[in-house]
């Protein structure tokens, strides 16, 4: 299972993927999920900030920013 997933932070700008699991602390996981990042949701990395961090993602039709650190803990599977 773990080998089939990538970290969200490994996607370059413009790529989409499907959320597999969120490995942050429990509190952060529930906030991210409340914002719509539940497993199975399509998420697009829109761009990275000018200094390379944070990144901007599109989920359920709106824009959200996350730091690389959190994005690395979000595992995604490539969209087929």
């Amino acid at each position: 299972m773990a080998d089939a997933t990538l970290s969200l932070a490994s996607l370059t700008g413009g790529l989409s993927a499907i959320i597999a699991e969120i490995n942050t602390s429990s509190e952060d996981r529930s906030r991210l999920m409340e914002l719509g990042l539940v497993p199975g949701t399509v998420v697009e990395v829109v761009r990275y900030a000018p200094m390379g961090d944070p990144l901007e993602i599109k989920v359920r039709g709106y824009l959200l920013t996350l730091r690389r650190h959190e994005a690395e803990l979000i595992r995604v599977t490539p969209k087929v």
Partner: protein, 771 residues
């Protein structure tokens, strides 16, 4: 318990409370303004600095009146920030000061339906009579989403009002629905869940709900909704104000344990179910009429957050804000300053001389005036802050700056308060309210005064002119300009360094998460911005004004007392002598005063040369007298008392008086030094400032060396960079942190830092051979 109290005083004429709630950026404030007009009351929730806004609904009957309470924007009933906790507590009737809502209006952004419906369904399930305001229908349409309000209403079993709040569309229908909802006598407490929970979870929720319903003071909202929240949100159980009895707490813990052993995550299972339900509702109620294309906002973002152009735009905007605060504000500030001076003069000439007039003129008018003077800067700053905020740019600025701020452990959002503090730390500290984490907010407050505010400008200017040689560096740059820049930079670096230290030690916390929405850009509404500026300046004037008034009265007392009879006698005689030189007929002290008052009223150009000479002589006598009074006043004695402490920094007791009096406000240094050194009438016009500079340059140490040498000047400038010499800042920090602990800590750490840095500069400079 607040709910029972609220039930007990069901007065016939008491206004009906309607809570207005919704996600951040859903247009809630615009709807609130539309419903209540301009008469909203703004305050704080008890014990916290979350802004509380309420107002009467326009166009409703007088009795019972309807009061709309605008709750802070929130993403979920499981709160992660202080704002969100207040919203939850208000809806759960756990705030003693907030009456039980009779109905709830939940605002939903039609262009961002899923995430908004996540919260809306949570609120609807509570069982209050609820109205759903489906806002931003125009944006949804532009983006190609056709939202069927009727279908949505049917699915949610709740009245839905499609709206475009910016243009007022749908406002009348919303009011109508609010009236209908408040007219319902009994809340529907048996709302079912929209989400299909797994069977084990459903069973736990039901048994917990039965336990909750047994409580004698069970609040009038749906027990299953409360049970689900208790089960899935840790803060709901932990927060003391929720006050659940031990058997409920135990039951929740056991239920969670059972779910965990069944292989379920109790914290997230309901979130997944709810999003499934929300996605289904979305699919049934929305038709995508156009292929999703790039919106205007997306196109703008490509430039604004671009690797190169994004940074360029950001720096350009910040330079513009910074420039405006200093350049555009200076004319109205001079005007206010002149007006205050004139008011002081007028009062001094109108009222009989005495202690009271002196207090009024020198203590109150001059002191409060020194604060009021900054109003134009505050207005301009908040004009820019609300423009940037309301347009959606602020989130992008935080996005761009986050990398730098996170290096010292702060959030991108801490950037704006720091920038604001260049004008004045007070609005800067008020701007920290947007920072979610209390610890990060506190760190930002603690470092904000290190940014050189505009009140330091006159101090830096005088000291640089007096202490530094006029010289060019590398043939092009003026040394004075370079030192000024250095003073600002030292402050910035110190602020970042201290932030890092605090985050590592005292306020230890991991770098806060940056989970931040980037709302679509929109054109800011003029009315909203004016309203914001008005609210902020009112807050500034009343809050800082009342405290600084008190401190100024105290300071005036210290600088004017104890009175010395011999000194007074000497002063009266010298004044009388000066008057008699021109008007030998004037005899008694009363006649002297009358003659002076008469001369003051006369047109200056029509005075005889002798009278002009007499007036100048009197002015000189007055200045000398002021200096003498100051020298033997409590402040003067204090100056001498602290001399041993400040001597290692290169300061004597006279500078000590300047430093002490600057603890009311930094710019007071200039006028105090004018008094200490008898420089004409204490004033701040350019001519007199150069007069002060000349006098400072003439001061000698006991050994004959100039007192205001380069190294003393630098040491003094460094002291002013670090020390928290501003009574208003202390007062605002006290209010924003709700305790004396933090302002006192801040005052002492900045004071210690100031002393240490000045010591290093002065003693280090001497070691290197400077004098």
């Amino acid at each position: 318990m607040s709910s029972s109290k609220a039930k007990g005083k069901k007065l016939e004429n008491a206004p009906l409370f309607v809570a207005l709630t919704g996600n951040p950026n859903c247009g809630k404030t615009t709807i609130f303004n539309g419903l209540t007009g301009l008469r909203a009351k703004i305050g704080n929730y008890a014990g916290v600095t979350v802004e509380r806004k309420e107002g009467r609904m326009r166009g409703a009957a007088e009795t019972p009146a309807i009061t709309i309470l605008d709750l802070p924007g929130t993403y979920s009933l499981g709160p992660k920030t202080l704002d969100e906790r207040i919203s939850r507590d208000a809806l759960f009737q756990r705030l003693a000061e907030v009456p039980a809502p009779r109905a709830v209006v939940v605002v939903v952004d039609a262009a961002n339906l899923q995430r908004n419906l996540y919260y809306a369904t949570q609120v609807i399930e509570l069982g209050y009579p609820t109205v759903l305001a489906l806002n931003m229908m125009d944006v949804a349409e532009q983006n190609g989403h056709q939202v069927d309000a009727l279908k949505l209403s049917e699915l949610l079993e709740t009245p839905v009002v499609p709206m475009v709040a910016r243009s007022g569309k749908g406002l009348a229908e919303l009011k109508e629905q609010i009236l209908k909802a408040t007219a319902q006598s009994q809340p529907a407490t048996n709302r079912h869940f929209f989400c299909q929970l797994p069977a084990v979870v459903q069973t736990e929720v039901e048994s917990l709900a039965r336990l909750l319903a047994q409580r004698t003071d069970a609040p009038p909202f749906s027990p299953p909704a409360e049970a689900l929240l208790l089960l899935s949100d840790d803060t709901a159980l932990q927060d003391a104000e929720m006050g659940y009895p031990p058997e409920v707490v135990a039951a929740v813990r056991e239920a969670r344990q059972r779910l965990t052993s069944a292989g379920l995550d109790w914290a997230t299972v309901a979130i997944e179910s709810r999003y499934q339900a929300v996605a289904a509702i979305h699919q049934a109620a929305v038709t995508e009429v156009a292929e999703i294309q790039e919106t205007f906002s997306d196109r703008l973002d490509r430039v604004v957050t671009h690797k190169f152009w994004g940074l360029a735009i950001f720096l350009g905007l910040m330079a513009l804000v910074f420039q405006s605060i200093f350049v555009f504000a200076s004319a109205p500030m001079d005007l206010i300053s002149a007006g205050i001076d004139r008011l002081g003069e007028w009062v001094a000439h109108t009222l009989p001389p005495g202690a009271f007039t002196d207090l009024l003129v020198n203590g109150i008018i001059a002191g409060v005036g020194a604060v009021v003077m900054f109003l134009p800067q505050i207005l301009l700053l908040f004009l820019f802050v609300s423009l940037l905020e309301d347009s959606g740019y602020m989130a992008r600025a935080a996005f761009i700056m986050d990398r730098l701020m996170s290096k010292v452990g702060l959030h991108g959002k801490s950037f704006i308060p720091m920038l604001s503090s260049f004008a004045c730390a007070i609005p800067g500290i008020m701007a920290t309210r947007t920072i979610e984490s209390p610890k990060d907010r506190l760190v930002t407050i603690l470092i904000a005064p290190l940014m050189s505010c505009s009140a330091r400008l006159p101090v830096y200017t005088v000291l640089i002119a007096a202490c530094l040689p006029e010289r060019r560096v590398l043939g092009i740059v003026q040394l004075s300009g370079l030192v000024m820049l250095g003073a600002y930079l030292t402050g910035v670096l110190a602020a970042l360094g201290m932030a890092w230290v605090f985050k590592k030690t005292l306020l230890k916390a991991t770098t806060p998460l940056l989970i931040m929405e980037l709302p679509p850009y929109k054109r800011p509404l003029v009315t909203v911005i004016l309203r914001h500026m008005w609210d902020r300046s009112k807050l500034f004037l009343t809050q800082a004004g009342t405290v600084i008034l008190g401190i100024n009265i105290l300071l005036w007392f210290f600088a004017s007392y104890p009175k010395n009879a011999a000194l007074e006698e000497q002063y009266q005689q010298a004044k009388a002598a000066a008057v008699r030189a021109a008007f030998p007929a004037v005899a008694s002290p009363e006649a002297v005063e009358m003659k002076l008052a008469e001369l003051a009223r006369m047109d200056k150009t029509k005075l005889t040369p002798a009278a002009t000479e007499a007036l100048a002589q009197v002015a000189l006598v007055e200045t000398e007298h002021q200096a003498a009074v100051l020298r033997q006043s409590f402040a003067g004695r204090l100056g001498r008392l602290i001399e041993p402490v400040i001597e290692p920094l290169g300061f004597d007791w006279k500078i000590g008086i300047g430093i002490l009096s600057s603890f009311a406000a930094r710019e007071v240094f200039v006028s105090t030094m004018s008094v200490v050194y008898n420089v004409g009438q204490a004033g701040a016009s350019d001519e007199e400032k150069t007069g002060l500079v000349k006098v400072l340059q003439q001061q000698k140490r006991p050994d004959g060396a100039p007192l205001y040498s380069t190294i003393t000047g630098l040491s003094l400038i460094v002291f002013y960079i670090f020390a928290l010499q501003c009574a208003s800042t202390v007062a605002v920090v006290k209010r924003e942190t709700n305790s004396w602990k933090w302002p006192l800590f801040q005052w002492f750490y900045l004071g210690a830092l100031a002393w240490l840095m000045s010591f290093l500069v002065y003693q280090g400079g001497r070691l290197l051979g400077f004098s």
